[in-house]
Amino acid sequence: MTEVLIKADSLKKIYKSFGDEVEALRGVSLEIYKGESVAVMGHSGSGKSTLLSIIGGLNPPSAGRIEIDGIDLYALSQEKRADFRREYLGFVFQQFQLIPYLTAMENVMLPLTTTSYSAKRKREMAEYVLTRVGLEGKMNRLPNQMSGGEQERVAIARAIVNEPPLILADEPTGSLDTKTGQEIMELFHELNSEGLTILMVTHNPENTASMGRTISMKDGRLCADQAEVVPLAACKAR
């Protein structure tokens, strides 16, 4: 029996702004198993990024409970949650989000900054993952000296350098051309086949082809959860 990695139970999130309340999540429950690759699809405002940020320990839910590897995420203090993110999660953000004044190598070493590894060990780990994503020879370049695809690879290398069990990716191919996007998706597929669990938010139905399971969201609710692509049009019928 495959183990559950993420267990979300009746997650709700309400944003308050100038007296108005916006319900971003209206009771989302789901389970994601270790080794799965899951795409979360949905229109803008459907709540998929909010779900990702809650699972990522960055955004406390208004109600409900989320466990990752049996750990009740929001029962932890903020600082413990930071430690949790460092050990359990790898983030791949929209538009790469590299630190502009750090080289590819330094960007990748960032999650290791606050660990007790030696400087040599940190460098070895960063070199290993940069080579793994095909960036050997470009490790000392600054982000602005690299193409979009290369920057995305640096972002992925940064997400996996601390060997987390779970990768959270937010529109990882959104800023890339189709060909580069496909290459990146292949990279995610390879990482998943090596045992990493991947949860990816995406607009692009093509990205779901290489993902094992697709969840569709609409208006803060899950409207489909299956191992195949569900056209968004199908959500409307439900």
Partner: protein, 412 residues
Amino acid sequence: MTLFQIAINNLRRRKSKMVFVVLGLAIGIATIVSVFNVVESMREQMTRQMADFGANIVITPDTGELAFSYGGITIPPTLFDVEQLTMVDVDKINELPARQMVRAVAPKLLGVASSGARHVIISGSDLQSEFAIKPWLRLQQSGEMGEASPSPKDMDYEKLNLAREDISAVSLTDGEVLLGATIAEELGVMPGDTLEIAGMEFQVFAVLAENASTEDNQVMMNLAVSQRILQRPGEVTVIELSADYSLGSEDALLDQLNGALPHAEVISLRQAALGRDEMVTRLTRFGASVSILVLFVGMLTVAITMSGAVRERTREIGIFRAIGFRKSHVATIILIEGAVVSLLGGAVGYVAGLAAARGAGPFLSGMEIAVPWSTGLFLAAMLLAVIIGVLASLYPARQASRLDPAEALRFM
């Protein structure tokens, strides 16, 4: 990769902004350093001038509260029953380990004796020493008696020539006296005249130029003769010393004097005079006020610039937090940046302050002051800069550490 490297890399990227912060702090530190340097150099210069000027330590019998004033210096009346100073005390001073600091020891006996129908103040001393510690003393040239008065130029301390060639000429025999300008006029005597004091005949060796001080009213003679006339063998009333503080510690000398002469009161004129010097005090106060103000503005510059930088780096800080940096890690980065920038500001400020003190110091103080490099002051300036910089970075650091990562990354 360390937090320090992240901070340094960020500073490198934001050079132009950081230049403002460095300048803001540097101006504050430069102000403090220049004011401090000018005031300290003035004090030092004044100390040196006082050393050149003459006596800077006066030793009198310890009389408790029974005392009267002599030329602004408290000395005891001979009438009181106190343990007088003696030539033995002078010998003790000459045997002190710190004796090499003392350029001249001038013991003297003061007293009153009759001269005909009136009384005169007698001052018995070794005139060589007396002239050494009172370089303003001048002999009247023949023909200018009664009208001689040192011109301001003569009294200009810096123009005083301690090594006057005429010192060796001022040597009295036991039958000679030297008169102050006022007493000579009152007695109506001139150099070469004879004068009867306490039944003894003396020849007037010379008359001092009027100098508006105690000496104008005194009849000066050799110490041994005065002890005989006043019938106080071996006694002295006051011992004046001229110490050169560039040769050793003032405190050590004073300690040794107090230890060797427990029955005497040792007064340091330098300390008293410096304490009284209003110009230095006022300059210090004014300088301190301006420095604090400028430093405060520097601190605000750091705080505002760092705070602005934190706002610009919202997303970056969100990334740090998302990938597992604790709040304290983020705050540490900002504080390191503040400290590094402050160190630069401190160094630039010290050098600028030193240059300003060297350039404007003589003009500000009206003295020929020399402002040396001081490693101690340099380190103090750096420390002060870092304290100010880190204090000013506390708010931006707190601001950064409290950023909501979800908001920073626009997940909301």
